[in-house]
Symmetry: C2
Subunit: 505 residues, 2 copies
């Protein structure tokens, strides 16, 4: 009885592991008749502060009306256990959540007010600390979507995101980086560009993201060939030894706010301009980059649909880059169809390897794009005269120096493995003769995602029908790859709904 009284007074509960994975959102499970619930007046969806020693998290309450928990016990979602650094049997205290001041700024933004640098810093600080529920994260993202952030706000958001995590320092000399403004399936130039640049003696500590709304991010594709979730110390070792690396940005804790926001952007399938610019440039700056090449593919079904839109985004990125002290070069490229043949992590990795290995049937479009970007980078860094970059890049690739450097980077990151092949496949054949007129990148990406990409690493699409190709009746247009029959069936069902993925006549 005495112990119960102490508990009631101190609002403490003993943790029980119930093993529920709620993804990124912290959930605390408490009995409806628990003494803390009763004395504090908590109810379902209440947001609470959970304290464990010096650490604390904010969690959403789910009330348990069963024997899942004993009296005096609380459960936590797996992520909440991890964030709190707690184990079963540990004691936690729970308390009401003070009103989160920065949510007032989010509401002001909904009503069209401009956010100050201080406002955005407060919001990003709270997001990073896990103080926003998924609903609140969605509200912030949507309030900033469309063109609702002006240039000053994007600069402030970028600076706030940089400040939210670690900042890397690579010492003297230029530190190179590149980024492609998504939307183009298979456009996996990064491993090739990094290999060429590092082989030329440049420092290029590349952090890449996982897919947001696409079937694969560079980190997903790279992961099928080498480990990518290196911590900062391991990343430093790789770059010190090889000049470059290709790792997942989330694992090195650069711009952690961005990773939290991306999880909700993904669930909503949105990626707005202001958030995108802040996301990209904050990661570059936090990674210690000084020179960045930006590739913006333009096409009717790419993310950026017109030259005008691409120039506007490019100009805005240049303004923000300048404000935060980055040198930037923006390249507009063809975004009318997929690059290479693979769409999905392992399938894209196979294209990358074919280019690096100078295979005769390596996808020429992927090779040309990678050489263009590497050439610009070599010129920016003063490694060759203006206009000669692409020749220099080509000679590094064709000499075998690039693939040698790539394999060395993979070894340094933990060892190279050949990407696998999916067990379930379905060939999509032409039902008439014709010439390919257009390719719907969005539908292809959707099919690859329904087939399981990027979570199923070998899932996706192998694409055989580039624009302008003559197609005979019965010829292979593309193959869907999947790791589970259910996913393959689902992708096929979606594909068959409309016959417009590839137009040929």
């Amino acid at each position: 009885m005495k112990q119960y009284m102490e508990h009631a007074h101190g609002n403490t509960l003993t943790l029980r592991s119930i093993g529920i994975d709620t993804y990124r959102e912290n959930i605390i499970y408490m009995r409806a008749d628990c003494h803390v619930c009763r004395s504090e007046g908590f109810s379902a969806l209440t947001r609470l502060v959970v304290r464990h020693g010096p650490k604390n998290i904010i969690a959403t309450l789910n009330v348990v009306h069963s024997q899942l928990l004993a009296h005096g016990e609380a459960g936590l979602s797996l992520e909440a256990f991890r964030r709190l650094g707690a184990a079963e049997g540990d004691t936690v205290s729970v308390a009401h959540l003070d009103p989160i001041t920065s949510l007032g700024f989010v509401r002001a933004k909904m009503y069209g007010n401009e956010l100050s640098a201080d406002n955005l810093r407060a919001i990003i600080t709270d997001v990073t600390a896990g103080r926003y529920s998924n609903i609140e994260l969605a509200a912030f993202l949507v309030a900033c979507s469309g063109d609702h952030l002006n240039e000053n706000e994007i600069i402030s958001l970028t600076e706030a995101m940089i400040a939210s995590g670690k900042h890397l320092d690579w010492g003297q000399g230029p530190v190179m980086d590149k980024h492609c403004v998504g939307g183009l399936p298979g456009n996996r130039t990064t491993p090739i560009v990094v290999s060429i640049a590092a082989a030329a003696g440049l420092t290029i500590p590349k952090t890449s993201s996982r897919a947001i709304t696409s079937p694969a991010g560079t980190a997903d594709a790279m992961e099928t060939m080498a480990p990518v979730d290196l911590d900062l110390d391991r990343m430093r070792e790789v770059v010190k030894r090889e000049g470059g690396c290709i790792v997942w940005g989330g694992a090195v804790d650069l711009s952690p706010a961005d990773d939290i926001l991306i999880s909700v952007e993904k669930a909503l399938d949105i990626d707005s301009e202001g958030q995108m610019i802040a996301s990209v440039l904050s990661k570059k700056a936090a990674a210690g980059s000084t020179h960045v090449v930006i590739d913006i593919p333009v096409g009717a079904t790419a993310k950026v649909r017109s030259q005008e839109e691409a120039r506007s985004i490019g100009a805005r990125m240049e303004v923000v880059a300048k404000a935060i002290g980055l040198q930037l070069r923006v390249i507009l490229s063809d975004g009318s169809q997929p690059v290479g043949r693979g769409i999905g992590p392992a399938l894209e990795a196979q294209d990358v390897l074919a280019v690096l290995r100078n295979d005769k049937d390596a996808p020429r479009d992927l090779r040309d794009r990678a050489l263009t970007l590497a050439g610009v980078m070599l010129e920016m860094a003063g490694k060759c005269t203006a206009g000669s970059g692409i020749d220099k890049a080509r000679s590094i690739l064709e000499s075998g120096e690039a693939v040698k450097k790539f394999m060395a980077i993979c070894e340094a990151q933990g060892g190279f493995t050949e990407p696998g092949v999916a067990p379930h496949r379905y060939d999509v054949l032409a039902d008439h003769e014709g010439v390919v007129r257009s390719v719907d990148n969005r539908r292809l990406a959707r099919i690859a995602k329904l087939a399981g990409a990027p979570k199923a690493l070998t899932a996706g699409i192998h694409f055989h029908a580039p624009i302008g190709k003559h197609i005979s009746k019965g010829e292979l247009l593309f193959t869907i790859h999947a790791e589970a029959q259910g996913e393959l069936d689902y992708a096929i069902a979606y594909m068959k709904q409309e016959n417009s993925t590839i137009q040929y006549d």
Copy 2:
């Protein structure tokens, strides 16, 4: 083994009751190693279709990594069990969710596109069917917040909400209704106006809402005196017998989309103009009302802060009302301070009873407001000449006919009870002498909510310091009421943070 194979093939699982209350969001719990998870490739936060006989729901997946569920079992949140009409031991099948088309319209709205009537109908149909996650509901609400909905969109949204639920028909003659555009604590005129109007022989089948962001809605206050969650048949009986009722709108399934949206608006503490107008007028139209009086209190810390804003909202409401065939009268009233003395369900109910019973110390401001609104209503319905409405209303109140009608309505709804008094109270005293200059309605509402209102029915504030009152040092400004000591402490802590709730000097 044979049964297992059938299960694996048909994607079926047996339901287990694990008793977790996730509020309105449907959650399905499945084992990480479950055959359906494996063969379908599901992972945490995946959205699934769960089928049970002819019914189906969409649920978010939480993956279980423990022995909480046995092989072949799935758990559902309490709300998901209820919506699916399922019981422990029932068999359900689960499948991937087809992309929700209407979410494309929500994304278009984020980018500033106008939504068509078809777009809004599709969105509201999916919201009503529970197809949106909380994140997606937040995205829709925020995309429509501020001034992002134009008049056509508000009209279409209103019509879509009306179509989402039942529509009541009360036969011939005018059907009266009233609504107050919130933001003013204690402004509980509805039970008084309904009693006067019904006593005058009018039909007034009043449905009220629970609190969205305030410490009490009319339904919350009324619930401390009589049952309010009547279904449609019960509501009809009450109105047939007494001419009027005061019930909770959610229980009669009018504009159910609105109830779902309100739960997320509440979590985000937002209530935007377009959604508000659609919410109010859809409920009125669905309830079969023909004549509506709208009260808009205006004040620096009320929801509507200026005469200009109030006139703009009023004009917009008139346009929408006309489009959907409602007669509307808008009254602008004083919103500078709380109405009556109570803030919180039971405390506001006590003020209502004092006015109805013609108590000598009944709050005069509440009485005057109720008589004004009832007077306008009597005039609109042709029960008296223009200008004589308030006199007629007063005579019905003073004669005792109003309180008699109110008690009859309560009896018809299930029986009258006196509202209770909270066990924990804290008096806030003046620390100096002065005259009350201003009252911060928002801070008072926040304190009442932290003290537990509206969920704790007797919690809230008893207010003693109206503007202009002379206050002696040590005199009572207000009393905080709470049902739990933890909530009382929390409200006191917030109140003490800033000394600006009531300004007197």
